[in-house]
Subunit: 290 residues, 4 copies
């Protein structure tokens, strides 16, 4: 089996790496803070001190990091993975990033003759742990075939949306809808609270009604209890995704007034110190702060 | 069986009336434009020339009209139903109305010693025809029990949310979420279109993903085909509900920046002449108009 | 000289009443809280215990109160001024109110054969004290001529904008622009602060530059010092005017996305307990609240 | 006198170049489309075929272009000015650009040991022609002194706001306020139109009232006549500046809900094909489009 590299071992990347090891892939791993590498080393991963060394000898190099800056560091930084990638390797960027950066990264890869896929994922930490993520892929079909054996281990479904950027765009569309739906849920629940409705009844109706999407259903509990410590997806990441989606809208000239308003609400929540809380905490931005 | 009255025989009120007749209730009906009364007369309804006459002798008087102005006319107009209601009758307002007006109407009813329920419905024309609506009820529990035999015929679930206004408030919360989710869907699809994604693939992912609520699922088709003639719920009504929800937010001092932005987008769509199109047509407000 | 009545003796109404007395008009005054009547009694005003009694015998009856509810109470309440007005009296509503209510009030006056002017004012407490307000008048030209001698005493300019509602509409347009300009100033200054610019330099440029309107110039100081206790116009009143302007936009079907966003920001500020602060305090809604 | 270079000879850059020639500076000029260089050649300018050649031998190199992409091309493109600049030259970027790009450009200059000033201007084409612009400068004070003799010729006031980025930030603050004020003016006038007010009266009140800033005063005429062909500042540039301001807000974590809403309105106007119209045309986005 060919060697795979995983760069970034947070909740998502860690789950992906563990599944690759379980499936028998020789695995190089890298993480900015070394502490998170220990459990994977224990499972047989080779821990590399830099992204470049992790990339060396790998035929598929997967990154799973927080934002454009982290992606830039891991691929193009001083000891970045792009400098270590072997000819024929396929680079797979699974992070949710701006369209602008994904396209710049694709161009950097092309300059070096390397294949590149943008392949952000949908699914939570459970899906990462269980290998049941969905991959939204943009890039060359042949490159996808090369990477498919490894990618199949971390996902239950791989959807090829088109050329580079298509996967990133689809992911931003998905997340912008989630960001807005959660903001609207917060606005609705804030009205219910102030009107003195029975919140369990309200939650029941929303859950089973026309606006009862999976994301709405999953955020009702945290909002009703005003407790956001069990972070499924941090507010600062949802803010980031909304921001990247607005930049994609810039690039394509699409008005997004509803998302624009919701993004500002997430930013208000950031001003309340809720960056690392679950993004359901956007609810708090609507309440009294005396 | 006690006599029931139905005021307003549009798609929703017409379905409700038909079910009451099928269940054997003696039924008085009124509609502003007389043409719509014929099918119900054929089923055995007594057609009244005014709301007041429809109300006379009825123990449950149900209104199902478009907006505050229509509700005001049917209850308090020159030949309004309030003037015809017998002592002991229960007034049931099933329309989606502003909290302000519902509370004013409740006060008018109380002045005359009449029981009043705000009981807006969720569910489409199919649910109205099939008797499977949900009723979101605000008002006195005893009054609800009096009306229950009739209301059970038109609904599969009756949820008592609290005193007068509670049903109206819950309905506005439900619809504001629907209005915002649909606006966000439109913004996402507009980006997908301009980015040149395969729209069927995009729709598939949204449908089965985190933002895939029933309302999102039901609006994808119309947006993808840009055809809104099969009006399930007219854009002007969704604009109205968003507006009433913002007024409820005014009354309770709740910020609703996301809804406020979405409401303006619906208003932009109204400026395009889309009032009577299905509200999925909000999508058109985001597109080029050269 | 004919008797004039002034209902509502806040900062604005008090100044108007004092000027009428100075000009020699016999003056009846009413205020909800009696304490504010003392200075005017000392100047020769007849203090009435109810609006109705204040209105009796007056040929011009001027109201200057906070919002629709206060206007409704003073004109149509149990001892309201409409019940005391003599035939031939001209009612002048100087408060900034919703278009909806102004038109309803005009209809109430017409029912009783009384002339009615909506005549909201522009200008601050200094202009009220100095008799240099501007009156934006809607209503019948002949009625305006009847009231002109009294109105000339409180204003330096009387502009007749059209039939009833025209003055109210113009005032809401004026104030919506002020509400939005102040919100935008706050957003700009928040960026300047976080970017570490020299705030005095920033203020200097804004003051003398393209966006340097009188309202912007007058709000810079409070924002730079973050002190809003010297209330020129309370935040809750600006929030109210923005809300009334949005309702006028509802009535006329005009999209107002910018105002809608600004209004929500004022509401966020209300949630911070800033209702009675000067409306420049909207700035605080943009800052960290740790 | 030292040689100066001007890159970009649009309305603004052309006026600046003419003034430098009149003051006796030896001048190199470059423009992407060569046609615009002829009038300046006639005045004695040396026309360079590339930015690099224009920069050679100049002690002050001034760029005045449309956006980040144009700035990037002129400084860092294949024959960019950075490659031609002599040691000791001061680079002066007068365009209104994103903070992100200005800081990147400053870093590029620093790498090569070149002094860099961000020095965007306020003032219209008349001010460019008359040498009465204002320069908002960020960068090293010593570099500013080197460039001052040339910059004094094109401006009546040079304000040093701090280190690199400070001038760019101040300019974005200025323009965001202008973008929002103009959007709010449009919303107010749209209400006035639909309410049937006398538009000349409305304009008079706004012009002389609290919201009557220079930018508001200058946009009233175009909106009242619905004619935007006399482009003082194109709508696409105002959209760009609003977008760059929002990106500066991203970088600093400042909520800007009002600007965000206004920016979307400008984008709606772009969808109507109004890119090259004066930005007062944002008014059209609020009107019926049947």
């Amino acid at each position: 089996m060919n060697t795979v590299a995983v760069l970034g071992l947070g909740i998502m990347g860690g789950g992906m790496a563990a599944n690759l090891l379980k499936a028998g892939f020789p695995l190089n791993v890298y993480n900015r803070t070394a502490a998170k590498t220990a459990p994977l080393a224990a499972l047989g991963a080779r821990v590399a001190p830099t992204p470049r060394e992790a990339a060396q000898g790998a035929s598929v190099i997967i990154a799973m990091v927080g934002d454009d800056a982290a992606s830039q560091a891991v691929w193009l930084g001083e000891h970045g993975a792009l400098g270590g990638a072997s000819p024929g390797a396929v680079l797979v960027e699974c992070s949710t990033l701006s369209l602008e950066w994904v396209q710049a990264l694709a161009a950097h890869a092309a300059e070096r003759g390397l294949a590149f896929l943008d392949a952000p994922v949908t699914g939570s930490k459970d899906a990462a742990a269980g290998g049941t993520l969905r991959l939204l892929v943009g890039g060359d079909a042949a490159a996808l075939e090369c990477a498919r054996p490894a990618l199949s281990v971390i996902s239950q479904e791989i959807i090829h949306f088109g050329p580079n950027g298509a996967g990133a765009t689809m992911k931003l569309i998905n997340n912008l809808m989630g960001a807005v739906q959660t903001a609207a849920l917060a606005e609705g629940l804030a009205l219910a609270e102030r009107a003195g409705l029975d919140m369990a009844q309200v939650a029941g109706l929303i859950r089973s009604g026309a606006p009862g999407s999976p994301i709405v259903q999953s955020k009702l509990g945290a909002m009703l209890s005003h407790s956001y410590a069990d972070t499924n997806f941090a507010l600062r990441w949802m803010h980031k995704d909304a921001t990247y989606a607005l930049r994609a809208a810039d690039a394509h000239g699409v008005p997004m007034p509803t998302l624009a308003a919701a993004r500002e609400l997430y930013r208000m929540a950031r001003n309340l110190g809720l960056d690392t809380a679950d993004f359901a905490a956007v609810f708090e931005a609507l309440r009294h702060h005396p």
